[in-house]
């Protein structure tokens, strides 16, 4: 398949295709920047290609190389179900490239981000201004020569000590300004209203400047970046396994899915496969997270519409999910459970039974909420026909996940690009047709039920783990084993078993082999091997020491998983060292928020709240 694409492109744009190759099954084309618009237009419109979604658009900085920058486009075709990556080298002296924002609506925001982070200009972009950083910010933070800790505070010490002076920054408030325009010969007064960032329905981190004609929204400008925490820069300055805690905080409602997504991307770079049991553990944990995420989304949306009861019920159910997560990972939210090549530790004993009990609770709560909301007149009136996004718009804005499916497009990464044994599990993807808030609500409700089914099947299919294995050998406490090892008394240590909790990091041999890939390049050896044999010790050393660690070969990979909000993709460029050269996260709700202005155009002010609740904006992954 990639070959056909390459051939067609080479025939049509022979002068502009610099290179075309595949790496780790990704089709990659390097093109000249002068032709990017034409190539993209061709790829989008040609009936054989039909790359109708612009999944991602990112910049990369190769400091010291000429040309220094690169803009990377990831396209996806719904018709052919394939991805294509286009890379465009851009030199430093004239960092400019043609915009594609007329082809895909989402490109508008993506390009603003690249401008903000790398200072690459997009010719013909309608409104190229900063998106994540503030206007006063100088420089472009993701460039390799911008130091990570160089702050440019808006609030100075002078201001802190003396609260009577007015802030030096103008908060770009157009609030309450009125202006008059002519419509059909009539004078119309429009009002500007600031909604957020400190607004209960905006979750604290979104600003919408509304242009209102009475109660009707004429236009809306959405401002983001209030929770920018430079995930990408951090990930590029820390070793591979050290990134997991940062991924937890992307979509903090379902952190396990982020963990899995990142791990799978690095594994793709390394070209390794994890054990069967580990795959199922990843599925189970992802689905538990998905349930927690949907519960939060619907609960919060219902609360904002005044249905406090539903919120309380769902928080109760989410608590059950958090307990399950805590039993495995030791934490409720920031879990850092997955590792490159495995998971941190095995499931605890009798976990299946516990999960069964908790799922029963969740199902009961879901049933309750169905009774409370699904046919409730007040609720239905406020959500039906509200926040409608047509199929075309949803595709043009690169919606994925529940929002895309609510608009009637059948796309789910778990089905289209199955990973981690999702293809061995039987489940259904609910599809809506109206693309309104009500459909999104129904889809999320149904997905929770499907997730429950997936978890149950995964437990059935999972190869039995160490918990069932009756192992021989003497047991000694792990800390004693460590002491013996330090004194060189390693005789027989290899044949003994360290007593640790199966859910603790570096757990003992029988558990360890079940959840870690046997690949020495990525998996920490078990305690017995580390302390009992020189190979184990060396292996441990090589993975832990600074400058060694996990070192994928030079190359790059894009991998996506189905996050609770849709396609959560990671694009990682490795330069062969123990730190990634570039980590790009494709956050699903970035697209939703980009399309939000369009979604509420023409709606009433009161409709903004349910519409916003339904897109499940999670600031951590939106602003990263």
């Amino acid at each position: 398949m990639p070959r056909n694409i390459f051939k067609t492109l080479q025939q049509k744009f022979s002068d502009f295709i610099l290179e075309a190759y595949t790496y780790r099954d990704d089709a990659i084309v390097v093109v000249d920047r002068n032709a990017i618009y034409d190539i993209c237009k061709f790829l989008r419109d040609d009936s054989r290609m039909k790359f109708d979604l612009l999944m991602d658009l990112a910049g990369v900085d190769y400091l010291g190389r000429d040309p220094r920058f690169e803009v990377v486009y990831t396209l996806y075709s719904l018709k052919n179900n394939n991805r294509l990556r286009i890379k465009v080298p851009i030199d430093e002296r004239n960092p400019q490239i043609q915009t594609v924002s007329t082809l895909w609506k989402i490109a508008d925001w993506y390009e603003r981000e690249v401008w903000d982070m790398y200072g690459i200009r997009f010719k013909g972009h309608p409104d190229l201004r900063r998106i994540l950083m503030y206007d006063e910010f100088k420089g472009h933070p993701l460039r390799k020569d911008y130091p990570i800790t160089k702050r440019q505070p808006l609030i100075t010490a002078e201001y802190t000590n003396n609260s009577t002076i007015t802030p030096t920054v103008e908060l770009s408030n157009k609030a309450m300004d009125e202006y008059v325009s002519e419509e059909d010969g009539l004078k119309v007064k429009h009002m500007f209203l600031n909604m957020g960032p400190s607004h209960p329905a905006m979750h604290g981190v979104i600003k919408i400047i509304l242009e209102l004609d009475g109660e009707r929204v004429v236009s809306a400008d959405v401002g983001i970046g209030y929770l920018h925490r430079s995930f990408e820069k951090h990930s590029e300055s820390i070793y591979y396994n050290g990134v997991f805690p940062y991924t937890d905080r992307l979509n903090y409602v379902s952190p396990l899915i982020n963990n899995v997504g990142y791990a799978l991307t690095v594994e793709k770079l390394l070209d390794i496969e994890v054990t069967e049991r580990c795959k199922y553990i990843r599925i189970i944990m992802s689905e538990i997270s998905r349930i927690a995420d949907h519960l939060t989304c619907i609960g919060a949306m219902a609360m904002e519409l005044g249905a406090m009861t539903a919120f309380i019920y769902f928080m109760q159910a989410r608590e059950a999910m958090y307990q399950l997560i805590e039993e495995v990972t030791g934490a409720r939210i920031t879990i850092s459970y997955v590792r490159v090549g495995g998971v941190k530790a095995d499931l605890p004993e009798r976990y299946e039974k516990r999960v069964g009990e908790q799922l029963k609770k969740v199902r009961a709560e879901i049933k309750q909420v169905h009774k409370l909301l699904t046919r409730n007149r007040i609720f239905v009136d406020r959500v039906q026909g509200v926040g409608v996004v047509s199929k075309e718009d949803a595709i043009s804005f690169s919606f994925t996940g529940p929002l895309l499916r609510a608009s009637g497009v059948d796309y789910d990464v778990r089905k289209q690009f199955p990973y981690s044994n999702y293809d061995k599990i039987d489940f259904e993807i609910p599809i809506g047709k109206n693309g309104d808030v009500y459909d999104r609500y129904l889809i999320r409700m149904e997905e929770m039920e499907q997730s429950c089914l997936i978890i149950e099947q995964a437990f059935e299919k999972m190869p039995k783990g160490a918990i069932m294995v009756d192992f021989e050998g003497q047991e000694i406490p792990a800390e004693k084993m460590a002491d013996l090892g330090k004194f060189g008394q390693t005789k027989n240590l290899l044949h003994q078993v360290a007593v640790t909790d199966p859910t603790l990091l570096g757990s003992n041999k029988p558990y360890h082999d079940m959840v870690y890939a046997p690949d020495k390049r990525v998996s920490l050896p078990s305690k017995e091997k580390t302390y009992g044999s020189i190979e184990g010790l060396m292996n441990h050393f090589m993975l832990i020491m600074d400058g060694y660690g996990i070192r994928p070969p030079r190359g790059e990979a894009y991998f996506a998983v189905e996050g609770a909000n849709g396609e959560l993709g990671f694009y990682i460029v490795s330069d062969g060292t123990d730190k990634a050269h570039r980590v790009r996260c494709r956050p699903p709700c970035f697209a939703f928020v980009a399309g939000f202005g369009k979604m509420i155009e023409g709606a009433q002010v009161a409709d903004i709240v349910p519409a916003f609740g339904s897109i499940n904006m999670i600031a951590g992954e939106l602003d990263r």
Binding site: S198, G225, Y322
Partner: protein, 158 residues
């Protein structure tokens, strides 16, 4: 400082009055949740049924700074949002208390980079720091009780 000077400094009447006002104030805290990030998930958990902040008289969120007396600052504060947080603080009426919820607000914590603020005490005074990333609901409840203790033992203005 009206009444206090009439009674002539710290004597039996004023200390008893302080105690009485402290007792009343500590059980009627109206929080303003300034929720930005992951800690918000735990804030949700503490304020709903399972952990129930209502038992401490501090569950009813006021989304107008004018009506609130406890600013719960939950989640990472970036440089971009700092002026807004400060403005919310300035808009609150005295007496006001600030709770830093999570290490991000205490010290900047996990995120040490160009876009985050190194602890909200660089932009405004803080009464109670609740560490944890995110703090467990139990920790939050303890933090709240510490704040109540502080209010109880404070000199009040009347």
């Amino acid at each position: 400082m009206g009444l206090r000077s009439i009674f002539g400094g710290d004597n039996l009447v004023t200390t008893k009055l302080d105690q009485a006002i402290g007792w009343a104030r500590k059980y009627s805290l109206f929080p303003y949740p300034f929720v930005t990030a992951c800690c918000g998930m735990e804030y949700m958990a503490v304020s709903s049924a399972h952990y129930d902040l209502d038992r401490f008289g501090a569950a009813f969120p006021r989304f107008s700074p004018r009506q609130a007396d406890m600013l719960m600052c939950v989640g990472t504060i970036s440089q971009k949002i700092a002026p807004i947080l400060r403005r919310v603080y300035d808009q609150m009426c005295e007496p006001k208390y600030v709770v830093a919820f999570g290490v991000c607000t205490c010290t900047g914590g996990f995120y040490d980079d160009y876009s985050t603020v190194i602890g909200i005490d660089t932009i405004m005074p803080v009464d109670v720091y609740i560490p944890g990333c995110p703090p467990r609901p139990e920790t939050v409840i303890q933090g709240l009780m510490l704040l109540q203790e502080k209010i109880q033992n404070q000199k009040h203005e009347y």
